[in-house]
Amino acid sequence: MISIPLLIVGAGPAGLCAAYRAAEVGVDVLILDRAQKPGGQLVKQTHKFFGSEKQFASTRGIEIADILFKRLEDLPGRVELLTDATVIGFYEDGVVTAEVQGKFMKYRPEACIVATGASEKTLAFTGNDLPGVYGAGAVQTLMNEYGVRPGNRVLMIGAGNIGLIVSYQLLQAGVQVAAILDAADEIGGYLVHASKIRRAGVPILTRHTVGLAYGDEKVEHAIIHALDDEWNKIPGSEQQLDVDVICVAVGLSPLADLLWQAAVDMKYIGALGGYVPLRNSDMMTSVAGLYIAGDVAGIEEASSAMVEGEIAGISAAGRLGFSSEESHLLKKDCLQQLRQLRAGPGSEKIRTGMALAGAYV
């Protein structure tokens, strides 16, 4: 059993920012991440970020991952980061267990920040288990991390930001995009992304969905159709597309298994992607000393994940007795940044969801 002041689960944008703010005021931090390298999903984001300068706007996600990791050196507190380290258990007595590079480890942290991110949702349609039906994150992983084309011709399901951005990245990798479908009336993502894709000749069909995928043990064809006001199939609207990949970009849900184990109060909030932990403005859950940040706290963007990470890091450090005049001011500034990030008309759902979850809005 190893006693540590602060354990952070997840080395994505939220976890790395939390570690920075806690170590900055002198807390020794252990970060565990199940992947082989830090950065979480930033390591496959080749696009430039929006937001403000404080959230690294106009820098590519892949570069942000490096910046966040490298600035953890030479801080008053020591940051140890272990990769290939999967946290597997949260116990009533505060013990956390993990498989660290093949070894079973037990930790007793005084405070803990869970920044585990999200998992991809899927969509019900006939043939959705065929090889070639891939999550949007999987498509990004394959092409942007490993340099492998997911296929030759892709049907994208979902015209939110992820669907639009991944479609553009597919074109950049030399892959055809047959069409982008969305069941909603309108394109959910930013129009600047949508216009870029339309200019490249890719049709974006709203009020459309996929009904069937088929082929010989892999996707070879998809049948799509239009939807009426009640989202029922409009008879006669079927079209066949010859594609070898169906990319599913229909959203994410918080990866909250550890929080369920820790028995924190959870609530189903559809606007935030599913069951989310209730929290206060410090990002602390109903379990004292257990904090959350990033997509596990409700699905948003990497920008807000970074700011939430900072708040959780400052708050956890404060609980451990490490704070400064500056860190108090910084926390106020972070809360203000979150408010700005969630200010737009497109963020109304997020604001409502966050209010229900107990967040400062």
Binding site: A35, R60, E120, L130, T141, V148
Partner: protein, 104 residues
């Protein structure tokens, strides 16, 4: 064999990487350094990683980050390995998994 590799990209640079030989269902294949088992298989045109133990449906990966367990295979005799996050190593013996797996 590696026709699915991206050779030119406006933003990313993919280095050539050294060859990593491995076998899949008895066939000799070659991946690249930095590959996971799943990325090496996909680059070699292999999409079917196994079959569901009950329905017999073909299985491929879905999430590629170790979440969904759709990509379980038998690696060096060990079943239920999530090949989407398992780094490829030279000489690995990779086999399709069509059952729930039997521990060695």
């Amino acid at each position: 064999m590696n026709s699915n590799r991206i050779l030119e990209h406006p933003i990313l640079e993919f280095s050539e990487g050294s060859d990593i030989p491995f076998s899949f269902d008895g066939k000799e294949l070659v991946g690249k350094s930095g590959d996971t088992i799943a990325s090496a298989l996909h680059a070699a045109g292999v999409r079917v990683l196994g079959h569901h133990f009950k329905t017999g449906h073909a299985r491929g990966f879905y999430c590629a980050i170790g979440n969904c367990s759709s990509c379980l295979m038998i690696v060096n005799g060990v079943p239920n390995v999530r090949v989407c996050v398992e780094p490829l190593k030279a000489g690995m013996v990779v086999n399709s998994q069509n059952d729930r797996g039997v521990l060695p």
